[in-house]
């Protein structure tokens, strides 16, 4: 285990972040995120919820260095990582990893699973034997068979591919994994298996998650704290149980009411309430 630098300092600290996208010629700038502040503590899972266009993925990409913030700061383990030089950003791979939504697009279809998983190890300059041992260990931790190492992504189901993507994220034993809609493309039963896996890995390794999702019920199950974004601004940030069942913000409440639950009686009551309100 790594030592914890400072007890006061959270693992990830985003302060007053602003991200602007340059419009195409003639179009005005588009502000994707404004005045967003957020923190993730070591070993914690923080949910980031919002609808499309809320900027939730942009925040994840800014932390990963895939988009450049216009202002504000992002600190990881007490160290400023906003606008890092390329070399320093690469070195961050051992601490910060990602799992993307699309289990089809996030794995190169032309590479074997073993090569995909060994990718983060290239930068760490492991020997071939060492890398193989690490890959087998990662496969075991995500409960995939060892013979997966010689197979191609298209031989796996969506849930298994997402396990491969998770194995790639944990292989360097990072302290923070950004999960960008990591469950959204999966079936319900597969989703709950992957949630269990994420919880298990967190208990084993103490990794922290920033879990980006449009689904409040997933976030409620997985996250200690939840932040809600709307049109680039944060409307609520607090304890997961509270935000996902007794939100203080009307927008969060609207999101909660709009998500259908598998209970016909509840849905009938909600529909009646919606019609009354209209």
């Amino acid at each position: 285990m790594r030592d914890i630098e400072s007890r006061k300092e959270p693992l990830l600290e985003v302060h007053d972040l602003r991200v602007e996208f340059r419009g195409r010629a003639g179009r005005k700038r588009f502000t994707a995120l404004e005045r967003v502040s957020l923190d993730v503590r070591a070993g914690e899972a923080v949910g980031l919820v919002g609808e499309s266009g809320s900027g939730k993925s942009t925040l994840g990409r800014a932390i990963l260095g895939l988009v450049e913030p216009s202002s504000g700061s992002i600190r990881l383990g007490g160290r400023e990582i906003t606008n890092l030089r390329t070399r320093d950003r690469r070195a961050l791979a051992s601490e910060l990893q990602v799992v993307f939504q699309d289990p089809y697009g996030s794995l190169n279809p032309g590479l074997r699973v073993g090569d995909i998983l060994a990718e983060p190890l290239i930068a760490s300059r492991d020997s071939a034997a060492q890398a193989r041992a690490e890959v087998l260990d990662a496969l075991e931790r995500v409960h995939l068979p060892a013979d997966a190492i010689d197979r191609y992504p298209h031989e796996f189901s969506g849930g298994q591919r997402q396990r491969v993507a998770i194995a790639r994220a944990i292989i360097r034993r990072p302290r923070l994994i950004i999960c960008d809609e990591a469950l959204s493309a999966l079936d319900l039963t597969t989703q709950s298996h992957i949630i269990d896996l994420l919880l298990e890995l967190q208990a084993e390794t103490g990794v922290a998650y920033l879990f980006i999702s449009h689904d409040l019920s997933v976030v409620r199950r997985l996250c200690h704290r939840v932040a809600v974004l709307r049109r680039g601004e944060m409307v609520e940030f607090g304890e997961g149980a509270a935000v996902t069942s007794r939100p203080t913000d009307p927008y969060t409440q609207a999101l909660l009411d709009a998500a259908p639950v598998p209970d016909p009686a509840v849905q009938r009551a909600r529909r009646a309430a919606r019609l009354d309100a209209a």
């Binding site: 609808e51 791979a93 190169n108 930068a123 039963t189 409620r220 997961g240 009411d257 849905q267």
Partner: protein, 595 residues
């Protein structure tokens, strides 16, 4: 969720095999590879296969037929054709190799860098590529010949440079697409250097298209070189093009002289192109999609299996009645894979039935079968679909189309791709009314505006003038629902109509569907993976698993007391009732509470 499943069915391969194995299984590939190889070997080791000099003349033996001394005979001044053919190929192949090497190195490298880094590198190299493409290649080559003299290798090197923009553009556009893929971003996050990412992910992605393009370029180079030599613009030594030019003069007296150089040139060029195609197929690990044998009717013949697999007895009032439906896709080994297996279900007038299941359950395939939208390769191999008493299975495409426009409408999952980006919403709504229903332009427009009002679009006039990219996803789905209503259907098949939408928009669209259903007395078959969506809108629900019905019944009953183990598992895995995560415990073991 439908597209990937269906795609998997078409491309999945059961057994592992290498690119080489796949190549060797393709007879055309083997034949063309052998031809290229044999010609190349004959040419490179020409001295082993003939001892006669290609330039030795023997006027006393001119225009001889094949003999032991001269296997292919002699030409008009007694030179050995076999020897000339072998030696003449040397310059041709060397020239082609030079063109290939230069165009690949220059075009490939600049395309790779331009596509990956974009920005100024892209701007400058694309500008240079456009400039070079604008140059008339043949004129440049002719001018060059005047300056440097008849050196065919220098001319071919310049030709390689001139066609490198072709390679540049191919590589650039492929790399640009691939660079946007999440696996490239994951590689960046993994700390890989740009050089590694280029070599590992991007070079691999361009490999297949590059190989086929390279074979084309090689074929072209052989052709251009022959043409230049034919025109007498090449070097003075023996070449295939030169042989063609010599024999052309004697085309009436000794046409056989033309045969051999033409044959070698043709075989070489054609084999290169065939080989390029075969290599591309072999390099794609998913392989080529299985070939469909013959065209199949949209809906196959009626084949009632008769055995009562139905879980539900349906009375006469059912106006959509599906019995023992089986849908098959071809698998790569020539067999068939059933994705829907003996499914029976029914929809009564004005009823909303949910078709619920996970991916691979066959729910969309059932919807496609009823709406006549099954892809060409799929086949209804058994069962019946009756709509208002009429059998739909076995109808011709045209007959099926008529039944469908007269009663069944379809709302797809992802609204934006289902609208044509190059036409206005107004055009896309009025066109079917005018063509199918024979409305006048004005009447169609009036009807379209009325329909947009019915789907609660506030400013229908403005939406009519908009293009699909100018409206939101929720708006687009309303437009598609309006389009579905325009034919006055009695049955609406909605395939995951809200899956691509945000939850707040989803709630609005579900409310809209519910109110349309009630005011118009529509029956609805709703395909969904979301048990909450089904709970919101359905009267009855059919639960599917791996192509078969596991349970069907009134939604309140099924949800309250599911009979099938599978349904119980499905309901249990929903997170709506799940416990929230327990409070955060810091690594020191102390519970930290937020203020």
């Amino acid at each position: 969720m439908n597209a990937p499943t269906t795609e998997l069915l078409l491309t999945r391969r059961q057994h592992k095999d290498s690119a080489l194995h796949r190549l060797l299984r393709n007879p055309l590939a083997v034949i063309s590879a052998v031809i290229v190889l044999v010609i190349a070997l004959l040419v490179v080791f020409a001295d082993l296969f003939t001892s006669i000099s290609p330039t030795a003349t023997d006027l006393s033996n001119a225009l001889q037929g094949p003999s032991l001394a001269h296997p292919l005979g002699t030409d008009e001044i007694g030179r050995d054709i076999w020897s000339r053919l072998l030696h003449g190929g040397r310059l041709t192949l060397a020239g082609a190799a030079l063109v290939l090497a230069i165009s690949l190195v220059v075009g490939g490298a600049s395309g790779l860098l331009a596509g990956y880094f974009a920005g100024p590198i892209d701007t400058v190299s694309s500008w240079a590529a456009s400039l070079m493409m604008a140059l008339p290649a043949l004129v440049v080559l002719l001018a060059l010949r005047a300056v440097v003299g008849p050196s065919i290798l220098i001319i071919m090197a310049v030709f390689g440079l001139l066609i490198s923009p072709m390679i540049h553009q191919l590589v650039r556009s492929t790399v640009r697409d691939v660079a946007a893929e999440p696996f490239v971003e994951a590689a960046k996050v993994s700390g890989l250097s740009d050089a590694r990412i280029l070599g590992r992910h991007l070079l691999r992605a361009v490999r297949a298209p590059l190989i086929i393009q390279a074979m084309m370029v090689a074929g072209m180079a052989v052709g251009v070189q022959a043409a230049l030599n034919f025109l007498g613009l090449g070097s003075g030594t023996v070449t295939w093009g030169g042989m063609l030019a010599d024999s052309f003069a004697l085309v009436y007296t000794a046409p056989q002289l033309m045969l051999w150089p033409a044959l070698f040139l043709g075989l070489m060029t054609a084999s290169l192109i065939v080989l390029g195609n075969a290599l591309r197929d072999a390099l794609d690990p998913r392989g080529a999609p299985p070939r469909v044998r013959g065209r199949r009717a949209l809906l196959a013949e009626v084949h009632d299996t008769g055995h009562g697999g139905s879980l539900e007895e349906v009375g006469d009032e059912a106006f959509l009645d599906v019995r023992n439906l089986t849908v098959e896709y071809p698998d790569p080994h020539g067999g068939a894979l059933a994705v829907v297996r003996g499914v029976s279900l029914s929809v009564r007038e004005g009823e909303v039935v949910g078709l619920v299941g996970e991916s691979g359950s066959g729910k969309s395939q059932i919807a496609f079968s009823i709406a006549g939208l099954l892809p060409e390769v799929a086949r209804i191999s058994g069962g019946s679909i009756r709509f208002r008493g009429q059998q739909l299975v076995g109808l011709s495409r045209r007959q099926a189309r008529r039944v469908l426009t007269d009663g069944i409408a379809y709302v797809p999952q992802d609204p934006i791709p289902n609208l044509d980006p190059s036409f206005t919403i107004g055009f896309q709504l009025t066109e079917p009314l005018r063509v199918v229903r024979g409305f006048s332009r004005a009447a169609a427009r009036e009807r379209a505006i009325e329909l947009l009002g019915a789907v609660r679009i506030n400013d229908p006039e403005k939406v009519m003038r908009s293009y699909p990219h100018e409206i939101s996803g929720g708006m687009a789905q309303r437009v598609l629902i309006a389009g579905a209503l325009s034919m006055d259907p009695v049955l609406l098949i909605a395939d995951e109509p809200t899956t691509a939408l945000d939850v707040t928009v989803q709630a609005e669209v579900l409310d809209l569907l519910r109110s349309l259903q009630q005011t118009r007395g529509l029956a609805m078959l709703l395909v969904t993976h979301d048990l909450g969506v089904a709970a919101d809108i359905c009267d009855r629900v059919v639960v599917l698993h791996q192509g078969a019905v596991v349970e069907a019944g009134q939604i309140d009953e099924v949800y309250a007391a599911p009979r099938a183990e599978y349904t119980r598992g499905l309901l249990a895995s929903t997170l709506a009732e799940a416990d929230p995560r327990e409070a955060y415990e810091s690594p020191e073991g102390k519970v930290v509470r937020d203020a």
